[in-house]
Each structure stands twice: as structure tokens, then as C-alpha cells.
Symmetry: C2
Subunit: 299 residues, 2 copies
Amino acid sequence: MQTSLDCLPCFMRQALSAARIATDSPALQQQILHRAARLLAEFDLGASPPENAVALYRMIAETSGRPDPYRELKEESTRIALDLLPLARARVDEAGDPLLAAIKFAIAGNIIDYGAHQDFDARRAIDNCLAQPLAINDYDQFRQDAARAASILYLADNCGEIVFDGLLIEQLGAEKITVAVKERPIINDALVADARACGLDRRSSVISNGTDCPGTPLADCAGEFLDRFHGADLIISKGQGNFESLSESDAPIYFLLTVKCPVVAEHVGALAGDAAPRRAAMGDLILMKKARPFPKTSP
Amino acid sequence: MQTSLDCLPCFMRQALSAARIATDSPALQQQILHRAARLLAEFDLGASPPENAVALYRMIAETSGRPDPYRELKEESTRIALDLLPLARARVDEAGDPLLAAIKFAIAGNIIDYGAHQDFDARRAIDNCLAQPLAINDYDQFRQDAARAASILYLADNCGEIVFDGLLIEQLGAEKITVAVKERPIINDALVADARACGLDRRSSVISNGTDCPGTPLADCAGEFLDRFHGADLIISKGQGNFESLSESDAPIYFLLTVKCPVVAEHVGALAGDAAPRRAAMGDLILMKKARPFPKTSP
């Protein structure tokens, strides 16, 4: 998905939000905003939004002198999510279809995204989530494809969210899953240490994609990651950032995300296919297979 | 009022909105956004938002080759307002306090502002308006000061809105009023021709302030305007743009505006004084006298 003109005001809004998280100094905040504007003037609209975001957040880290300004917020969201986990696990266990319930929690965990919004009430959002339908729902096919897949690559998104990813990973069979996170800090995206803090490394492999991009830009990813990416029977892509950078990939991907911006909403709708035209709106929960058929995978 | 860091994402949003109004060419829209970003990097945060907006909108006019991209929208809002005028005038005539009703219409007319928002339902907004209280309400003093004033300078804001300003001008006594508009096109701000199209020149003087600023930047205003500004017994300042550029003036100003952004909401609240701390929120209707006492004026 290319960067839209609509992304540019949003990048400025994100820069302001990140500047205020990174530093209390009005002078540094102003410097960050002015530098952000200069970067925006050079952004390549042919690249995806997460690819353009890399330069923006690197600049903010450098200008503020804080390589990981979201560290406290990440720790807080992990803490909140771990607090909520027993409640969510109980809901999964008592559900008529535990896999579907786990999917919904994994998608609802995506609302814990400080990059897109500042305020959230995670517990209420999760309660509402189970009642909310999937606006695009390729669940039946997902269930079959996931059962058939011998290896699944799970592209994680944010801290907090990855705690709930654990519920879905358990349902799918943790041993056949590789969880991929980011190599270096970027917004509130999960790193290897965060995945370990949630215990995801106990039964699954945890690797990084080699980048500090809030998505999965294949051209910049590490060799080990790319081997897993191209070798996986099935790929689960969580969140908007991974969707934005992989929406044109031919890999066997299912996108699980909450729609948080109108540009992604439009792109999701466009990708959902002509056969049954589906629309996406802000706040929608999405479980979407790319229209292109999956290659036959191992049993 | 100085430009806040919060204004910078909003300027990008405005640039995108204006670019799409000015041209259908994606290439030109992109050029406008990139140039807007470069301008933002140089903005003087010590200046008011309307002063910074001048360079932005001049660039958009130049890049798109359209010196007055909002012309059609201005004509449309004038047409909509003239359609609604008989309804509004009847409401004023039947009101227990016609001056107060006219004030509310003049403030509600301010919602017709394509610079800040794209969509509006003017008729419903006007219906709602009369029922809405003034969140900051210096009406009693305004009524006395306006009756006492021999000369009133009325700083108009947008097209459409100026049609409703006519109702307030009638209540105040059109002969003692000078209506000031903008000299050259800027967003949807009213020009001399627009004021004449609404008939405001029939009983009042109509002048321009000499600028193409969406506000009243005194340092850039024309001599004739400044004579009226400094000689007026009372000044009525309509809308956010005039408020933003005059909020620190010592002139005998009443600010009439609808609050449309959180930065203005905060500044309005700060100016409203300590004695009776008042807050302002998005959508509030404001009739506010500067805390500084007015000089004694002619009877």
C-alpha cells in the first residue's frame, strides 16, 4: 500500500504526539516538528507508510536523545495486557469456538497501539470485542488453512497486543509457530525482549525481522526472517503497519487488524475482492485472506 | 495568539483540503503538500496562525494556478445563507430579545467556514443555535457598550456568515457601522464584492483591511483600516481567525466566534479572566469582551 496524501497530516500529528512523549522540552518539541516537516517534504509516496515512518521516528529518537521513547508506555501496555490475560483466557476456554474467540482477542489486542491513538480503555474494548462481528470474515478458510499448515509465521505488532497473540498461538499450536518482531525500537512495536517477557518463546520460536520499521518491509528484512517468510505455509499478519507493508505481497497471508484510519479502510475494501464487494470502516475488525489463492501446503 | 505546535498538523490537513479544492491533478496536489511541508518547517511560531496561513494559501494559489480556489464554494455558501435569511430574520423579529437572537445567528453563521470543516448542515445548525447558550456570555455589557458606541468597526469573517452578520448590523444600527473584509482572496473569507452582494453596503460603510490574511494582522493592515480600527468606539471581531490575530490587542473588542479547534478553546479560556474562570470547548458559542476595561466612549 502506497503512502497517501492523507498520510502526511497524520504523520505530522504522529510526530507531535511522539515529540511530546519523547521530551518535555518545548524547544526540542518544536525542533522535532520542524524537522518532521522537512522530512515530509521528501517522503516517497510510492513507499508504504511504515517505510516512510522509519525516517520520522529515527529523527525523533535522535533529536530527543531517546532511542526508545515509548519504553515506559510499552511496559505499561504489557502490564495492562498481562492483567487482562486471565479474563481473556477464561473467555476463550468457555467459548463455543475457542479459536474464533482467540482470534477476536488477538485483533482486539491491536487497539493497544499508542502509535495511532493515545487513549484506550482496554478492558471495555476487549469486552466489546467478543460481541463485535468480524467486518471481513475469512474465518472458515483460515481455520482450514491453519490446521493444514505445518509452519506458521506470526508477524506481531505492538506490545500489549502480543500478550493476547499468545492466546491465538496456543489455539493454533505454539510449536509450529515462529513469532517475528522488530529488531530495534520503533513506536510501541514489540521487540524480542517483549515477546520473551510474555512467554511467547516458551513453545514458539521468536525472531526479529531485522528492521526498525513499524511494519514488514521485505526489501529491508533480515535473511533469517526472509527464509521463514518464504518458507512458511501460512503467514498471520497483525495490525495496520504489517498490512500496509504487505498488502501487495503474493505470500499466503491472512491479515488480522483493527481498522484505525480511513486510508487503510479504503485499501482493505479495495483488496477484499470484487466477487463479494466488502467495505471496511474505522474500528472494523478484519480477518482477511488475500484474494489470490494459497498454494497447496503440507498436510 | 501564537501558533501552537498543534497547529502544524492542522495546517497540513488544511493544505490537503485546499489542494483538493484547488486542483484535480494528483501531481499538483502532491506538489502542494510537499511545498506545504517545506513552508511548515519555516513557520514562525511567534506569529499568529492566520499570519502563518498567508504563505501557505498563497503557495497553494500559485502552485494550482488558481488565485481564488474557493470562489465556487464562497458563492455556494452565500447562496445557502441568502436562502436561510428570511427564516432567520423571522426568528429575530419574533424573539423576545431580537439583539440576542441576531447575535446568535451571527455567531452560528460562523459555522459556514470551509477553512476548518468541510461538511455542515447550515439549516439544522441555525435551528440548534438559538437553543444553544453562549458558553462565554458578556451580552449585558455588550448591549450597553454597543448602544453607547457612536462608531462600530465590524470585522467580518467568511462568505455566507456575512449574510447573517447583516441581521446583527441591523439591530445595532447599520449607519454607525463600518464592515471590514479582506482585500484579496484567502480561503472563503469575504471580500468587498461579497459584502456588496449581501447588501451590507446599503447602509454601512464597507472597507477592506488591505490583506489576504484569514484574520486581522494589524502590522500588515492598510492605513484607512487602521484609522477606523483605532478610532472606533467598539470593535466586533467575528470568527476564529480574527480572534487569533487580535486576542492580545488592547482595542475595545468583543469577540464573537464558534470554537472550532482545541488550541482556540484553550486560549479563549485563558483570556476569559481569573475572576470567573470560564472554560471553552469545541463547538461553544462565544461572546467575549477582553478583560481589560473599555475606554469611555462617546454617548
